[in-house]
Amino acid sequence: MALVLPGCGGEAQDPNTIRLVAWKFNNPGLWRRLADQFEQLHPPLKVALEIAPHSSTAYHDLLTQKLKNRSSEVDVFLMDVVWPPEFASAGWALPLDQMLPPGEKERFLPAAVEASSWHGRLYGAPLYVSAGALYYRQDLLEHLRLKPPKTWPQLVSQVKMTLAHQGNQDLAGYVGQFKQYEGLVCNMMEFVWSAGGRALLPGDAGGALSKPRDLKAVRFVRDSLIDNAAPRGVLSYQEPESLEVFAQGGALFMRNWFYAWPILNDPARSKVAGKVGLAPLPRFSGGESASCLGGWLVGLSAFSTKPEKAFKLIKFLASEQVQRRLVLEEGLAPARRALYDDPWVLKAHPHFKKLPPLLATARSRPRTPLYPAVSQGLQVYFHRAISDEDSDLPILADTADIEINRLLGLIKEE
């Protein structure tokens, strides 16, 4: 096998080289090993890898830059679960329905299939998924004979009880991701959904942030969480910062994705190994627990000069054996349902049997071709609303709704 370097002239024209643009795994050699396996199975096809930065937003900029230039140097790419409406509408991704054998769609988690679809067609093969979950310090809760909280107000009162009992200044109550970035939308949508709100009305009907349930959730985060159950610093936290605090024993509760579990239980990286519990996120009374769906799909570029060969790679990446490898080598939650009962998987990661109920609560963030712009609007609104305790919520929500409606109006105009 020849190591093909990205950016070398000529190889884009090589009819047997499939160019894959992907984002980085924690385990940097994994992509190359997967590519090697594919090359062995499908000679004479070769895979040229381009590995993008470890930030979804930076990766989006890089990938869309290529696609808007109609670059034939991308055949297959990884897509964040929120991108299919945008990529489908812009004409960057090809529908995959015709290439899939019948019944194949049903083998994936329904939430992942829904995220990959736009106007009834499938634009990505689900690779792996994730969802928001509540991590808690089992030892501290058990000490007070507490069970993981079912509702958000319960969580706040458990924080107060535990902190009063521990009397430890270094222990925080709740940490999550509240910096102004994409993760803020995930965290806040979980509060909004679990209060029965939805931020955006279905079918581009408009913004719903000023609806009472949406407001209730945001008000709760501002008044009862930030600077109360959660330290003010969470307003600048992304995933690594919150994970670090929790892993060092600095917090009672943490909202994070599935990837945190193996790290928290690795004694070399965590002071709380073996003391951590995993539960669905709390809800508000009258609402249902909801978690934000994350994860990655594999898409086919509309500008690929060899879509059929490229699809072979997609099929390979979405196959059960590759997804099993992703679990075993990287700890990623597969998009294929069968693997949650797989003995190999459960042997390596016993906590995977807890994941299906969590994934059942997973929902897609608002689905629209203008998601990046809508997300920016949501980020600004949420961050303004929760970082200033005197913020005028109804006015901020109205302003955000108006902005979102203006954006959605563009879609109707199209």
């Binding site: 812009a90 910096k179 712009a373 961050h383």
Partner: protein
């Protein structure tokens, strides 16, 4: 070469020599500006190709002026430019005055002063993020010591975040201003100071009537460079705050970048870059008018 003799031939030769350079300037400096202006007059939304790319005249600019987010960003940019330029040029001048004196180890100190400037901005920004972290950051330890309860989340507070970005910029680029001013100081003939001292001028008088006027051209250059750079601030914001908290550090460049690259509004995003360009141009022209002309007059008088 004989064919090129005579004034006409000389002019042709001059153009011939200039042409490659002109072509490069046109291709890489002039054309992108023109193209941005053209784009800014159209409505282009990448994810909605069905909209086409209709010519909309000044619609993007009208929205830019009426949009609260854009106005807010313009205000933040002006605050950043004003504060950082003022601080950097004053601090840089002080540093230059100190470095101009001869003392033991001056070479070493001069090199040390330049270190922040030599660090790539992305690395420096990341470092400042760590310093300003609310739990393990150096800043909290310096300000509050062991009093963990009063630790501040500097980058999470809309009141502090812009100050933090300005601080990082001042730390990083004051040395650049110092370098330029120092170069200016070195051109002042030493015997002028001796003559002034003989005439009984004190240190302040020597600075006020000798150093300051003579270093003014260098100061003006430092000011122009720093202002233009400050208008274009991007990487510090990108790494340290991503425009947050609550848009408190969402400078125009970052606002336009998000509109264009993240959200796909090519026309509107271009209008933002054109606005930044016009602002920088205006400021440069004002400087040239104020400082440049006075300087020229001063020199010819």
């Amino acid at each position: 070469m004989a064919a090129l003799a005579g004034p006409r031939g000389e002019r042709l030769l001059a153009w011939g020599l200039l042409l490659p350079c002109l072509a490069v300037v046109c291709a890489f400096a002039f054309w992108p500006i023109v193209y941005s202006v053209v784009l800014s007059l159209h409505r282009i939304v990448l994810s909605l190709p069905g909209l086409g790319a209709p010519f909309v005249g000044l619609e993007n600019y009208a929205r830019l002026l009426s949009e609260p987010g854009a106005r807010h960003s313009a205000g933040i940019t002006l605050a950043f430019v004003g504060a950082s330029t003022l601080l950097e040029v004053s601090l840089g001048t002080l540093m230059a005055l100190a470095l101009d004196k001869s003392f033991r180890g001056r070479g070493l100190v001069r090199a040390a002063v330049l270190v922040p400037w030599a660090i790539p901005t992305v690395v420096a920004s990341q470092m400042w993020r760590f310093i300003l972290n609310d739990r393990y950051g150096l800043m909290n330890w310096l300000v509050f010591g062991g009093d963990v309860g009063s630790y501040q989340a500097w980058l999470a507070s809309p009141g502090w975040a812009l100050g933090a970005v300005i601080l990082a910029d001042v730390w990083k680029t004051s040395a650049f201003a110092a370098l330029i001013v120092l170069a200016g100081l070195q051109t002042i003939p030493r015997d002028l100071y001796e003559a002034a001292a003989l005439d009984g001028a004190g240190p302040w008088q020597r600075f006020r009537h000798l150093t300051l006027p003579l270093v003014l051209p260098a100061l003006a250059v430092a000011l122009v460079f720093r202002t233009m750079d400050a208008f274009r601030v991007f990487d510090l914001v990108y790494v340290m705050t991503q425009g947050g908290p609550a848009n408190a550090t969402n400078v125009l460049q970052f606002y336009g970048y998000k509109k264009m690259f993240a959200e796909g509004f090519m026309g509107y995003g271009s209008a933002v870059s054109v606005l930044v360009f016009v602002m920088v141009l205006a400021v440069s022209l004002i400087y040239l008018k104020l400082v440049g002309r006075r300087l020229l007059r001063g020199e010819t008088a």
